[in-house]
């Protein structure tokens, strides 16, 4: 009696198991669908809990979307760091082999430097201000200072300075370019980290007009073009431009000193200058 019931149990369970295993075997043969092999690899690294925590219907679907580039690895709340790292290798994130690209803010017209034209009462967003006359700053090209770029950065690599200009944290910036897209004024540009010389201004107005607008504006005087390596600096629409193809390590003569308004900057020198300045201030 007892043994019989054990046998019945084993038989019925075993029967069901065999039945469905066979079904799966057949299905595996007949219903097989070709897919990107990486999907399988990624899927096998995912928790497989199908918990839906990622907002997607299941781990397999998450893998598909990941490989398809529609979602980030961080979208899976369950996955641990190890698995994430491995998945990243499968996904070949070595795409970032080239030089690190970071965002650069090409405007120095903060609250202190720029001219105000009135009292702006409206939505404090750069796009909104841009399309309704440009907020309270007179400059038509420069940073508006409402930090839309800061909000758009998914990595928290940007913040607003007290002077009302965005500051990039080079180490955190991944070069994703979200801020560049967000800025209605095109003030942010993406550059390899090795580029340190910039014309930090976008103002194309005539010298007379741009002088009225900002003390750090590029007024288009053309002094910087002379004396530097041929072609490195050019003037276009009252604005100095740097040809980064010609810009290299051997470039000795720098146009920064020539610029009458300090619109051209060399990043390291700026920081050095600043520390000297601070030291002097402290002495006074």
């Amino acid at each position: 009696m007892d043994l019989a019931s054990i046998a019945v149990s084993m038989l019925s369970m075993g029967g069901l198991g065999a039945l469905f295993a066979t079904g799966l075997v057949l299905a595996n043969k007949k219903l097989y669908v070709e897919e990107d092999p990486r999907i399988g690899q990624v899927a096998s690294l995912l928790p497989g809990a199908n918990c839906g925590g990622c907002g997607l219907p299941g781990c397999a679907n998450f893998a598909e979307n990941l490989v398809g580039g529609n979602i980030e690895i961080s979208g899976c709340p369950v996955c641990n760091d190890e698995a994430r790292a491995e998945i990243a290798t499968i996904m070949g994130l070595e795409a970032q082999k080239g030089e690190k690209i970071v965002a650069r803010v090409l405007c120095q017209g903060g609250n202190y430097e720029s001219a105000k034209k009135g009292e702006y009462l409206g939505i404090e967003s750069c796009t909104a201000a841009h399309i309704s006359g440009g907020g309270d700053k007179l400059c038509l090209y420069g940073c508006l200072g409402y930090g839309e770029c800061v909000d758009s950065c998914p990595f928290d690599a940007l913040h607003m300075s007290e002077n009302g200009l965005p500051v990039v944290d080079e180490d955190t910036c991944t070069g994703c370019g979200n801020c560049e897209d967000a800025c209605p004024r095109g003030v942010i540009g993406m550059h390899p980290v090795s580029h340190t010389l910039f014309v930090a201004c976008k103002n194309e107005d005539s010298p007379k007009d741009s002088r009225q607008v900002c003390i750090k504006a590029c007024v288009g005087c053309g002094l910087c073009v002379r004396g530097v390596e041929e072609g490195l600096m050019t003037m276009e629409n009252n604005l100095a431009r740097i040809d980064y193809h010609l810009y290299g390590t051997d470039c000795r003569e720098l146009p920064t000193e020539k610029c009458s308004t300090n619109a051209i900057i060399l990043l390291e020198s700026v920081s050095k200058e600043k520390s000297v300045e601070r030291a002097e201030m402290a002495e006074v």
Binding site: L46, P47, G48, A49, N50, V78, N80, E82
Partner: protein
């Protein structure tokens, strides 16, 4: 797989950082359903941990044998087996608890927490490490269940583990032992954990 992580870290992660309920939002159904009293939470937590450990033992042992295509079916049968064992154990030895936890014991079978750990960890790691992981996860789960159960029991019945703590002046908020109370308490608890985490990061 991967760089060696200390066993201690493997254990500790389940308690807070990768806590199955708070961080991964797994196993929510039993978490909500049985925590109307602390003791129920404890019992459910223990039962779940038992199943987690035993099935981990099995699955981790035979992790290299089971073909990918039948692993879900295989794992889940193993899990269900131990759930049945636990269920019967309670029915045979603790009939009262069995009656209160009622239909939620069998649902341990489909507790995403268990299958999730098997898929994510036990099927890829040696037995010892897997057991440590499961133990951590199980304890993390028990912890949450007890906390949730205690809060709900105190506010909903004025007692904790059946011992009256709030006097007659307190009229219990019955909602706390009803479904809405479960959701609300867990919601607030999750927010609290987020807050603590953000403080920890800031610090």
């Amino acid at each position: 797989m991967a760089k060696p992580v200390s066993l201690k870290a493997e254990f500790v992660k389940g308690l807070w950082n990768e806590n199955p309920v708070m961080a991964s939002l797994l196993g929510l159904c039993p978490t909500l359903a049985v925590t109307n009293a602390a003791v129920n939470g404890l019992a459910m937590g223990l039962a779940t941990t038992f199943v987690l450990l035993t099935s981990t033992l099995m699955i981790s042992t035979m992790r290299n044998l089971v073909p990918h295509q039948v692993r879900i079916a295989g794992y889940i049968v193993i899990i269900a087996t131990f759930v049945t064992v636990a269920d019967r154990f309670l029915a045979a030895f603790f009939p009262e608890i069995s009656a209160t936890l009622g239909p939620y014991i069998p649902l341990i079978v489909v507790n995403c927490l268990i299958l999730g750990r098997q898929e994510a960890f036990s099927s890829r790691n040696p037995v010892g490490r897997s057991l440590v992981d499961s133990l951590g996860m199980g304890l993390g789960f028990i912890m949450v269940l007890i906390v949730l159960g205690s809060i709900r029991e105190i506010l909903g019945s004025g007692s904790i583990f059946g011992v009256t703590v709030l006097g007659d002046w307190f009229s219990p908020w019955m909602v706390m032992i009803l479904p809405p109370g479960a959701f609300l308490t867990l919601g607030i608890l999750i927010a609290l954990v987020n807050w603590i985490n953000s403080r920890r990061i800031a610090a």
